[in-house]
Point group: C2
Chain length 431, copies 2
């Protein structure tokens, strides 16, 4: 009988050991892919000054943060909170440690973040994010936008994710178009309409734009624009055919062309398209933006997204630190992979072998056998205590792939049997 | 010029990438040692219900916890907090997932915990703890106390820690002695005096005991007892010579003898002694207790400690779950290892190689070279952008051990030079 509720808090992942092993495997696969691309790992504290966390954030973020108070403090004095992403701490870190870093600073963070939002299906309050970022000092070549995408796609390839498509755009395109059409004063509202366009019928988007008073001709131009998606050369041609001479728009075309072309080079085999529907409107991106979808599982949403930000740390330093980054939301992704049965608690047992000393007299020898197996890279449990052998074998069959019993006979012969539980075959081994 | 303070909060570890790499190496070495001994990895949320965290904890713990509140909540409504150790969440986890676990449940947790105590030298508010625990259902052989110690010592061996000594005792000894002397009513106070005895002069300890009104003879018995330390056989003999027939005392002797003997067997070469000064008075241990010290660096304090608890989850279930566990406080240990210069930011560069395409025409080929090097297990950065070659080489020499330039000549010859920055030697490689 339970006395206190022992379920984890809602919105927080907690896995059985078998599922945890699956999760760990995906996490370390991602970390390995990032590392292979030359990204350096850092860790920042989970708690930051509220002042740091909210320097750039908008009202929604403020509502979602978890404040942290020591028990003897009052809430109004609380000036610390749990971080909600890796980007804000990265900005603080880069300024703080600037003299110890080589630029461009290729950096990865893989850890938990927190959002105190209402718990709902598929939304986590505590979640792993796996980020890569490249931060430049004063300038950062656009080529790194492609490198970030290529690195993330290499990481996704180690996951049990079916064929995916990277959708890329550049915020300078819609931004420049609105300048050209003298609609800059409505830019924020238009970006917001476009950001939601995928979730509503086309008519609703048109209506929302009309309601802003753009005029029918402009609404057509914008809806034509956001419907453009396809291969690089085709979309670049179509963008040029708008005939806009606006500098931002032209820069957007050139950057999009370079980034898409370079992703094809750096990540051969990755399906990457230009898609003007992508704006990532609520974020602080200023150039390249991208999302990644799995056509076979539309319900996954974007499994990996990011973009270019013109200045990472404007609230902390006068120095300009342009950056580009992206993130895999691993906790959410793991949940959808489990639901789609693309991840299953493997039938493989958590450990490789159990070695069972028949009595306390054989513990030393059993431990030597275990140590020798460990040297081959195995995880080995020496089963202790005076339970019956049958109970020990039953335990072994639940946790291990193989088992050996070490008794008097084995000591005398210098040989033991290593039983494989699945095949039932015994392999004879030297002690 | 900084605008907002960018230092991390006090009491929170934040490392440069080079030091982070060292920290990560130690952490994964420990995880590997635990895994090899057949411990299964789990993760629990960092946030728990206050009710769960404080079910067993005393007043000091309550003062040290970080409460967590959503921004729109008031502090008096706060019923969630950051966990302060791994043991309380493990108790909740074991009850919650009981049907998915095989017992004895050998489990490891390696993650951050939080204590909102006053920041001071060597004390962290956010810190990694690396725990192993074995949890039994209804019973758990004392042999697992030795297995926990053997596993932890194997883990310490992968760290740059000089020769260490494991100091072991059993709380049933002092407990049984106090029963025998009819001093049970003072047990809590006496345990507390003994727990502090190492930090004060002997006279102070005697005075504190006298002040409790034990009588001179009892004070002598207790001080004689707590001065006993040495090899197993010697101390077991001395303990027997007290002549106490008390059941607890006798059980303490038998368990201590078994645990020490078995550690010698399971962890040959480890220096392990019986030491009656160890009581770990503020914890919830009921049998075996141990600490680990480095004689060459007394100032390190105990780098790893733990013990046996009779019932892990009495607040959550009627079922008896005896356990034994121990923990390496990695964040604190890392700090003292750095201070003692036993860990140094290695001169080794964070990544293995930089591949530099001479112009954008060679990016594809440079990326192919990089991918081939990655397949050999290397971390490789393709240096992008149109900076001068000299600037790219300077960057490469800061972050990588080796570098290659891929230009027109290399494409034509099908060969490139892989320069080792330290030796200055060029190795000729096939593209």
């Amino acid at each position: 009988m339970k006395k206190i509720n022992t379920s984890p808090l809602s919105g927080m992942q907690e896995l059985t050991p078998a599922m945890q092993a699956q999760f760990d495997k995906l996490k370390s696969g991602i970390a390995q892919a990032f590392w292979m691309h030359g990204f350096q790992h850092i860790e920042t504290p989970l708690i930051e000054r509220t002042e740091v966390l909210l320097a750039k954030a908008g009202g929604d973020t403020e509502k979602q943060i978890y404040k942290v108070i020591k028990t003897d403090e009052t809430a109004d004095k609380a000036n610390q909170a749990l971080r909600f992403d890796h980007t804000v701490p990265l900005a603080r870190y880069t300024v703080e440690h600037m003299n110890d870093l080589a630029f461009p600073f290729k950096v990865t963070q893989i850890a938990r973040n927190f959002r105190g939002e209402r718990a709902q299906r598929g939304r986590f309050r505590e979640f792993y994010q796996c980020d890569v970022d490249v931060v430049g000092r004063e300038n950062l070549p656009v080529a790194y936008d492609a490198e970030v995408i290529a690195t993330l796609t290499d990481a996704i390839r180690v996951l049990p994710v079916p064929e995916f498509v990277v959708r890329v755009s550049n915020r300078k395109l819609l931004g420049g178009m609105l300048e050209e059409l003298n609609l800059e004063h409505l830019a924020e509202k238009i970006f917001s309409v476009v950001d939601h366009a995928e979730k509503v019928p086309k008519e609703k988007t048109e209506m929302s734009l009309e309601e802003l008073g753009l005029g029918a001709e402009n609404v057509v131009k914008i809806t034509t624009f956001i419907e453009m998606r396809g291969e690089r050369l085709e979309i670049i041609d179509k963008l040029r055919s708008f005939g806009f001479e606006n500098e931002n728009f032209q820069a957007g075309i050139a950057e999009l062309d370079e980034v898409l072309g370079l992703v094809e080079v750096l990540s051969p085999g990755t399906k990457v398209i230009a898609d003007m529907l992508i704006v990532r409107g609520l974020d602080y991106y200023t150039g390249t933006v991208f999302e990644t979808v799995v056509p076979q599982y539309r319900e996954f949403g974007s499994i990996c997204s990011g973009g270019r930000y013109e200045n990472l740390a404007g609230y902390y330093t006068e120095q300009s630190l342009p950056g580009v980054g992206g993130s895999i939301g691993l906790t959410r992704l793991f949940a959808v992979l489990v639901e789609a049965e693309l991840v299953q608690a493997s039938k493989q047992k958590p450990i490789d072998a159990c070695v069972i000393p028949l009595s306390e007299h054989e513990i030393a020898e059993a431990n030597r056998v275990a140590d020798n197996l460990r040297k081959t890279g195995w995880s080995v449990d020496v089963v202790l205590g005076d339970n019956k052998l049958s109970a020990k074998l039953k335990y072994a069959s639940r946790v291990a792939r193989k088992a050996a019993v070490i008794g008097d006979d084995e000591l005398k012969s210098g040989k033991y049997k290593l039983r494989d539980f699945e095949s039932g075959v015994d392999a004879i081994q030297q002690i």
